[in-house]
């Protein structure tokens, strides 16, 4: 694609430098702390599954036991391994014992550290290899069936019932969808555990559970075989269980995860220490599992104005990129998010949308950009809404977006009906095909509205990034720099789950993942 916008490369470099500095500023935090959710993830990755009679996941029970004893600073892995060797049980049996209140992991006599670690490393490696295998199988399937043409058509299913979701997802795939996102029940991000099993009662969405992941993956593989196109599956790696869900997704072969470094802090009032630590580990898992993350900058524009705050989206894209790199994600795994949220009644609003979309495209040429549809200004006038989605699709095809979250004509009314989704897909097909090479056909005038807006956006985000770099990300967020929302460093949900690591903190997965990431290369 020829470059439509003239971009001041020095400014871009300055943005990237500031973002790198911001990411570096978090390193101490990331290396010196763990969280209850990271430790639960370790438990899961070591093969412990299931819930107790009250539906509490064994991972929670085990971690809670050690945490109550004030010993989580060492990491759960050691305690688990020690118990297994001590009792001659499998890790799963150990966890079940804890759940039955028959075992106190902190009270067992300590086995030689190297023996425990050896055992744990082997178990961990098995899991890591399993994930790698799932990843490779998934990539092979993608290669065999092929992915749809870009922009990929991304639609949501949100019935709250996994079996109803499956019907809708299969139908959507047949209609032409490339990506199915199972919307998650609204309160789940604030649950400090992951629900279990197949679920049929969710609220505005279906619970993210491992079994639900499995059911949907199976359905999509099936329908993908039928239609001869690989269908990608998305869920939410977000909220208080961020890394656990990353592990579940890695195990069940998900393709994408909503996974943002800042979203939970701002929009779910999750403590920022907790979030940053969790996102780092979850991203390492996603990186290794070959998952594309979708960042959530679009959300800024649901509370802030898209013209005034356009540059905050861009700045956040740079930060998400830097933090993604820090965790080992490759460029193609970065589904950096931006959105078409300018007031449709604004004169030349479409031009300003093009400016942001094109600028984002040129600044992140290798990323799999995720473009979010109009939502805030959607109206219950479904006819007008369908048109707004049409211009959104046009902006995407002109600027070469990768992941197109399709807007729904009923956005202002209800979660999508089957027919709404079908009309959205038809909308995208029509525009993407009828204006297929429009982007290649046109050049933006060098001193026009679009070019000027792009320059303004870049300038503003450079200034913002420099400011954040100077103050640190955490302080900046507490000053309300994004979406007009300010959060306290020590406030918010889940702070009690942040634990300072001890000297002998042990978690085999950091090393295994890091090594795995650097060795497995690109997707195809």
């Amino acid at each position: 694609m020829s470059e439509k916008l003239k971009i001041d490369q020095a400014r871009v470099n300055s943005c990237r430098n500031a973002a790198a500095q911001i990411a570096t500023g978090l390193e101490d935090l990331l290396h010196e702390y763990t969280t209850t959710s990271i430790e639960r993830t370790v438990v899961r990755l070591l093969g412990v599954d299931g819930v107790d009679q009250f539906d509490v996941p064994l991972a929670n029970i085990v971690v809670e036991q050690i945490k109550e004893k004030g010993k989580l600073e060492q990491g759960i892995a050691y305690y688990l391994g020690n118990a297994a060797l001590n009792k001659g049980l499998s890790l799963q049996e150990v966890a079940e014992g804890v759940a039955r209140d028959e075992l106190d992991l902190s009270e067992l006599s300590e086995q030689p550290e190297d023996k425990v670690k050896d055992f744990i490393e082997k178990t961990a490696l098995t899991k890591i290899n399993e994930i790698a295998e799932i990843r490779e199988k998934r990539f092979k399937r993608q290669q065999r069936l092929g992915l749809g043409k870009k922009p990929w058509l991304y639609v949501i299913v949100a019935t709250g019932n996994i079996y109803e979701d499956v019907k809708q997802a299969r139908a959507a795939a047949k209609q032409g969808a490339d990506i199915i996102a199972v919307i998650r029940s609204t309160a789940q991000s604030l649950l400090d555990y992951v629900p279990y099993g197949a679920t049929t009662e969710g609220f505005g969405g279906t619970y993210a559970t491992q079994e639900n992941f499995r059911i949907m993956r199976e359905a999509l593989d099936e329908v993908g075989d039928e239609i001869g196109r690989y269908i990608q599956l998305v869920n939410y790696c977000s909220g208080l269980c961020m890394p656990e869900i990353a592990a579940m997704g890695a195990t069940e072969g998900l393709d994408m995860m909503l996974n943002d470094a800042i979203y939970g802090i701002l929009f779910r009032d999750i403590n920022m220490n907790r979030t940053f630590i969790d996102q780092h580990f979850s991203r390492m898992i996603n990186a290794f599992a070959g998952v594309i993350i979708n960042t959530g900058e679009d959300n800024y524009l649901t509370t802030a104005d898209a013209i005034e705050a356009g540059h905050t989206v861009l700045a956040s894209n740079f930060i998400n990129e830097a933090l993604a790199e820090q965790a080992g994600l490759m460029s193609w795994q970065m589904g950096l998010g931006h959105a078409f949220e300018i007031d449709p009644n604004l004169e030349d609003g479409f031009l300003l949308e093009l400016a942001q979309a094109q600028l984002t495209r040129q600044l992140f040429p290798e990323a799999n950009l995720k473009y979010m549809p109009p939502t805030k200004y959607m109206t219950a006038n479904i006819f007008k809404g369908h048109l707004q989605d049409g211009l959104f699709n046009l902006a995407a095809i002109i600027t070469g977006q990768d992941i197109q979250l399709l807007g729904m004509l009923t956005e202002a009314i209800h979660t999508p009906f089957l027919q709404d989704r079908a009309l959205s897909i038809e909308n995208a097909h029509y525009i993407f095909n009828n204006a297929a090479h429009f982007g290649q056909e046109i050049t933006f005038n060098g001193d026009g509205i679009i070019q000027q807006r792009a320059e303004e956006l870049l300038q503003q985000s450079e200034a913002l990034l420099k400011d954040i770099a100077a103050n640190g990300l955490m302080d900046s967020i507490s000053r309300g720099i994004f979406a007009g929302i300010s959060r306290d460093k020590n406030g918010g949900k889940g702070y009690q789950g942040v634990i300072k690591r001890s000297e002998n903190y042990y978690n085999p997965f950091f090393r295994l993942l890091r090594e795995g990431i650097t060795s497995y290369g690109t997707r195809f």
Binding site: T379, A380, N381, H414, T415, F417
Partner: protein
Amino acid sequence: MEQDFNRVKPYGDTLGDGKTQLSFTLPLPASPEAKEAARRLAAKMGLEEVEVVYMNELGEGFSFFILYGKCPYSIDTTDIAVARVETKAMDFYQVNQFIKEKMSRKITVIGACTGSDAHTVGLDAILNMKGFAGEYGLERYPQINTINLGSQVPNEILIKEAVARRADALLVSQIVTQKEVHIQNLTELVELLEAENLRDRFLLVIGGPRISHELALELGFDAGFGPGTLPTEVAAYLAQTLYEKRN
């Protein structure tokens, strides 16, 4: 829940939810009362949990409404049987082969847009050389002798020409349906043919965007072809049905 074909209902995102979208204009200026009137109207149609999601003043005392509601009714689909053209699918070559082999002679068809209807595109799509959607029209079939009378042909003229040219089949196109004018035109044609004792002489075929095979049978025609019809479908029908009629 599995679909019960005895009780089929609209589906939004859950089986049986009955979700239905409506829109209409009322001759009322926009107001909470107008909105309530819209809601009541939908309620009279039997819809439950009606939501008037959108109201927009259109000027001159009119307003437009968009509504959603739940349809409580269901349809027993197990007893629905809609007549359809049953002849076997054949392509261009097969049709010509069939006529050549089975019939002693070429068949003659005569087409027209009747009454005041001047929409020839649909008829031409079936009849003209060029055809439609990449398929040849009947003129191109060596075994079919095709006469196209074009637009705004009075029924009397169509019959006269059909008799004169010894047509086997009449192909009538009706596009304009305002005030049910197509029903009038078509009924008149059948009546005229019956009055002249000519009804059984011809295969009577109609087509158009609001035509269905059911409607055709209802009106006394032999077959009806709706939107998106391809020339081969018509040709296959004609060849096979004329052959059967002969025997």
